[in-house]
């Protein structure tokens, strides 16, 4: 009959008491403070900055949409947008590669599976700034390993990251290499979730490995493939480290290879034009939302939810 018992009483079984308000206020105070200071306020502030003029020392005044006009009508942003989308599209080719690896690794009775997984996953845990240096060296036009390999195979060579025609693609190959392990892990989890009985039934019906893959594995795996594709594209839209280190500021190919986040960094922190940086950041948000929305629309055509 006492008040202290009501929380555990029968009425509370389905809906727990709303008497946690005070506790929630205490426990959430610091997390909410941090969220407001470091995430919610910054969103508002970025929006305000994007319509302001001024400089870091004297402060900013709201003046209107001049920054937006300047960024949207300039030639740097469209170029960076195109570069970013091309980069994202090339890195997306890593998804079928990861699928092949995941399906091969999933075979029953495979030996060294653990070892293979470790090796494929290794680039994921390594620092992009560090491996970008290695790749830059491998791509070197004069004494790079890649050109040597290509030359012995009789294939054309070039200064991969100094040539504006190839730089972005060269970086994207590294993007594929770095992301393969993550994609592989998520796809492997998707494969694990396909019940053995389904594949066994198909096998008994005489379906060969190709048929089994096309009619059973692929459709049942499609939600995982979709997830991996969305994550891959979102990650690609934020690419910065690889480009920053692999190309370097004095690279002749840089002007033609900047991604949108690189442009953001340059505008906001090298040229210290925060308002223009804010506009670019907001454009990134819009682009991310549009691209993700497109992916979600397209998924109806090829993703099968069991």
């Amino acid at each position: 009959m006492t008040v202290a018992h009501t929380p555990g009483g029968p009425a509370a079984r389905s809906r727990r008491p709303s008497g946690d308000g005070r506790w929630a206020a205490i426990l959430l105070a610091v997390p909410v403070l941090g969220l407001v200071v470091f995430y919610l306020w910054p969103l508002i502030r970025t929006a305000i900055l994007s319509v302001s003029t001024g400089n870091p020392f004297l402060g900013y005044q709201i003046t209107g949409f001049d920054n937006w006009v300047q960024v949207l009508t300039g030639d740097e942003l469209p170029r960076a947008l195109l570069n970013t989308l091309v980069y994202a599209a090339v890195v997306l080719l890593g998804v079928p590669l990861a699928m092949i690896a995941a399906v091969l690794l999933h075979q029953r009775g495979l030996r060294f599976r653990g070892l293979f997984r470790v090796l494929y996953f290794l680039p994921v845990v390594t620092m992009p700034a560090a491996v970008a240096m290695v790749w830059r060296y491998i791509y070197n036009g004069d004494f790079g390993l890649l050109n040597e390999v290509l030359a012995t195979m009789g294939l054309p060579t070039t200064a991969w990251v100094a040539d504006p025609r190839t730089a972005l693609y060269a970086v994207a190959v590294v993007g594929i290499w770095m992301g393969l392990g993550t994609n592989l892990i998520i796809l492997a989890a998707g494969l694990e979730a396909i019940p053995d009985s389904v594949t066994e039934a198909a096998m008994l019906d005489g379906a060969g490995p190709v048929r089994r893959f096309a009619s059973i594995t692929a459709p049942l795996l499609s939600p995982s493939v979709f997830l991996v594709s969305v994550l891959s594209v979102i990650g690609s839209l934020q690419m910065f480290d690889l480009l920053f280190v692999m190309l370097g500021r004095t690279n002749p190919a840089l002007a033609d290879s900047k991604t949108i986040v690189y442009l953001f960094y340059e505008e906001a922190f090298v040229r210290s034009d925060r308002p223009l940086g804010a506009v670019i950041a907001l454009v990134t948000l819009v682009v991310t939302l549009i691209v993700t929305a497109i992916q979600f629309r397209l998924q109806r055509r090829w993703v099968h939810y069991a």
């Binding site: 995430y39 845990v125 700034a129 480290d241 986040v261 950041a281």
Partner: protein, 286 residues
């Protein structure tokens, strides 16, 4: 008739299976070689002489092993200081994130309070926004606190990231309601439920958050690059990037430095493979 054809078909199938197996190993091995080749090349280059690292065609095997390159990297870059900065920032960010994220996740997953949905939406919405949107104002906040070029500056925004909260929230929601109810009947308050019941059950999710946050922190470039410009407060990735700008052609030293920088995470990964893979799977799958 079917009796006789069956063994034949079985043999065919077995031969086909064996050929398929060989092809599988071949493809996987070539793939694995491509994945690790850059690391092998990095190591081999790190022990070459400067001259040998820039000859064409490249020499695969070093003619002499120049281990002193690992000494020289310490001369051209304050590696110890930067490693300590990276490590301190990591510890601060991970412990802060674990505490903040688990508290917030607990409230949303196990308590009922006004404005719960709206607040949760706010927390999760920040995960959908590209991080660049936060950076300029975050920089201003840190500058106004007079914390530019400090360790806490490196860790602070990451401490309050909703990433860990999202992972933990999903995990905590999957725990049975009866746990809290039984504890409440015994007179436990929400803090005690969090501390004694829920948190100990979340070890796998806490491990995943620890690993992923450590990776983010150790490998991050953009935020440390803009927030700490004083070399004595730089992290390893920033130090390496600036070193490349300054001495972009001393490849053996650059390779030695980058190898040292990736080694800690690689070693931890090899030791804790299962947890790493679980971490990726947890943060990847919705």
């Amino acid at each position: 008739m079917p009796e006789r054809s069956r063994p034949g078909r079985g043999q065919d199938a077995r031969a086909g299976l064996r050929a398929g197996r060989v092809a599988t190993y071949l493809v996987l091995a070539v793939g694995a070689l491509l994945m690790v080749a850059p690391f092998l090349w990095q190591f081999l280059t790190s022990v070459k002489s400067l001259r040998e690292s820039t000859v064409a065609p490249p020499v695969i095997w070093p003619s002499a092993w120049h281990w002193e390159n690992y000494q020289r990297i310490f001369d051209v870059l304050p590696v110890e200081t930067m490693a300590v900065n990276s490590l301190l920032a990591l510890i601060l960010r991970v412990t802060g994130q674990l505490l903040i994220a688990s508290l917030a996740a607990f409230c949303f997953a196990r308590l009922r309070f006004p404005l719960q949905r709206a607040l949760l939406t706010l927390f999760l919405a920040t995960l959908m926004v590209p991080p660049q949107l936060f950076i300029i104002p975050q920089y201003e906040v840190i500058r106004d606190l007079n914390w530019l070029n400090t360790i806490q500056a490196l860790a602070l925004p990451g401490i309050f990231s909703s990433f860990g909260m999202f992972i933990l929230y999903q995990f905590m929601r999957s725990l049975p309601v009866e746990l809290d109810e039984a504890a409440r009947i015994d007179g436990a308050n929400p803090w005690q439920i969090y501390r004694r019941i829920i948190l100990p059950l979340c070890i796998p999710a806490l491990a995943a958050v620890t690993i992923m946050t450590s990776l983010f922190s150790w490998n991050d470039l953009l935020w440390p690059l803009v927030i700490n410009t004083d070399p004595s407060r730089m992290t390893l990735p920033v130090g390496l990037a600036t070193l490349q700008g300054a001495q972009g052609t001393d490849y053996p030293v650059l390779m030695a430095g980058s190898l040292l920088a990736i080694l800690p995470m690689v070693l931890i990964f090899v030791l804790l493979q299962k947890q790493f893979i679980q971490g990726i799977a947890m943060s990847g799958s919705k």
